[in-house]
Amino acid sequence: MRYRIALLTIVTKEVRRFMRIWPQTMLPPAITTALYFLIFGTLMGQRIGDISGASYMDYIVPGIILMSVISHSYANVVSSFYSTKFQRHIEELLVSPVPNWVILAGYVSGGVCRGLLVGTVVIGISLLFTTISVNHLGLSCLVFLLTAILFALAGFINAVFADSFDDISIIPNFILTPLTYLGGVFYSVDMLPELWQKISLANPILYIVNSFRYGLIGVTDIDITVALTMIISFIVALIIFSLYLLKKGVGIKQ
């Protein structure tokens, strides 16, 4: 009961934080994705034609939805937890009888809420440009949720190690964004030369995008069981690593 209240307190605080700044958190993804759909889907998509039997617009919708989920679940936790460290109100949590798993679950849940909310907004925007047929609702929802959890965890780890505001933008700009664009959001890996196809298999975002695409339009370059196993394995590994960092007090205790 005590832990549940503590968890709810952190989650409520986090949700209140990103809702308070909704013009920064909710509006930009709506505008950006509308532009993606307009330029890549409507204008260029007509020239590109179909991929694996799906129109180009339908093909890119799952990836663009997940791009928003990835970037916002990550951004929420990395900025919030780093600010908590920077302004030292992490001490409010450290002096309280809140177990590490509750701290982790609270911040990750905040990131998941924002990721899913932004994802839902983007789904709404996409419906202005196309109709989304759902091939497998359960799988779609599962991947939607797991993606938010995975990148919220990654954002948490980034925040733990960050020593400056520069450190919280390096990973998203130089690693996350390239991986997202190279993760098959706008193309099928079958279109790449064989070497690049193999290199692409090391990109976790490829598995995520293809799982979600399969859930929505039934098209994938990757075996779904392998993809889900990879995603869940990443999540478990990041949870264990995050709890280890909290236990050791890395970045938050001396």
């Binding site: 009961m1 005590r2 832990y3 209240i5 503590a6 709810l8 307190t9 952190i10 409520t12 605080k13 934080r17 308070r20 908590t84 302004q87 030292r88 109100h89 001490e91 409010e92 949590l93 450290l94 002096v95 309280s96 009888p97 809140v98 177990p99 007090g249 205790k253 001396q254």
Partner: protein
């Protein structure tokens, strides 16, 4: 039962610097205890360890019998912490800061609302409860931190230089608040650079220097050791040169003001007898260290 019992506490930081060299410390339940020392002496490190903000290197810390390492959650339930620097989210409202802290301690929202009201009223912040905290004055922010630390009814309140940088008027009002909290049964450990503050509030004292406890005694015992007290005397008439009184160190600050060092064993009577004999009339006397503060309070009407 001891509120706090520290044995052989050692802290060596990652860079090899040892901030605490195996200190021992005990604080009685209900005490108002001063932990004093110069900058870098190890006060904040010791408090950081007690409050789980810093990992200890060796030794044991027990709070009301609970071991800090083995039963950290029970220890944390007992402690309320008021840090030296503002460490709450300055974009939150005053009430939310206190409510969030209650939530971290597992206090249900309805109960937290009642407690937050009580604490904020006690700290004279109830009217500011919906104010975003960054808009508060420095003194109000400090009181928010005390309200936050009290919301879970801690048995041990740790105040790390709570009045650092605040003006004398606010400091005095915070002293009164701290006294009230202590009178209600909460043990208080205070670190401060204002010795007058410790002298006024605390019954027991430890002095730490270079990571070692160099004094641990009752405040009255410590004060009894003071060899010479210095006072400022205001005179009725101008003096050309300072009077000489055997056994007293007298310095003339200006034509109508003397600073007198009075040895503990001598007292005032002999001094005043001798000054009277020399035709010197004293109109007022003040403790040297309080003079400016008293003048300031008179000016601001505090």
């Amino acid at each position: 039962m001891k509120a706090l019992s520290i044995r052989n506490l050692t802290k060596t930081y990652g860079n090899g610097f040892t901030a605490l060299h195996g200190i021992d410390l005990e604080v009685e339940d209900g005490d108002f205890f001063a932990l004093l020392g110069p900058n870098g002496a190890g006060k904040s490190t010791a408090i950081g360890i007690i409050c789980s903000l810093i990992n200890l290197s060796a030794g044991t810390v027990r709070v009301f019998g609970h071991d800090l390492v083995r039963h950290s959650e029970k220890v944390k339930q007992c402690i309320g912490m008021v840090p030296q620097e503002i460490n709450f989210n300055q974009f939150e409202t005053v009430q939310n800061i206190v409510l969030n802290q209650a939530g971290y301690y597992g206090i249900a929202y309805k109960e937290a609302l009642v407690r937050a009201e009580k604490c904020l009223k006690q700290m004279h912040l109830w009217d500011q409860r919906h104010t975003v905290s960054r808009r508060l004055s420095g003194g109000m922010k400090r009181r928010v931190m005390i309200a936050r630390a009290l919301v879970h009814n801690p048995r041990l309140l740790i105040l790390d230089e709570p009045t650092a940088g605040v003006d004398i008027e606010i400091r005095r009002s915070m002293w009164q608040l701290m006294r009230e909290v202590n009178e209600q049964g909460t043990t208080i450990i205070l670190t401060t650079h204002y010795l007058e503050e410790a002298e006024s509030l605390c019954r027991n004292i430890a002095i730490i220097d270079k990571g070692t406890i160099i004094k641990h005694s009752k405040m009255s015992d410590l004060l009894a050791q003071i060899k010479v007290n210095h006072f400022i005397l205001d005179l009725a008439d101008r003096l050309a040169q300072p009077p000489v009184v055997e056994g007293y160190d007298i310095v003339q600050l200006d034509s109508q003001t003397l600073q007198v060092g009075i040895p503990g064993e001598k007292g005032f009577n002999q001094l005043f007898l001798e000054l009277t004999r020399q035709g010197i009339s004293v109109t007022s006397m003040k403790n040297k260290s309080n003079r400016l503060e008293s003048l300031f309070l008179d000016l601001v009407g505090g």
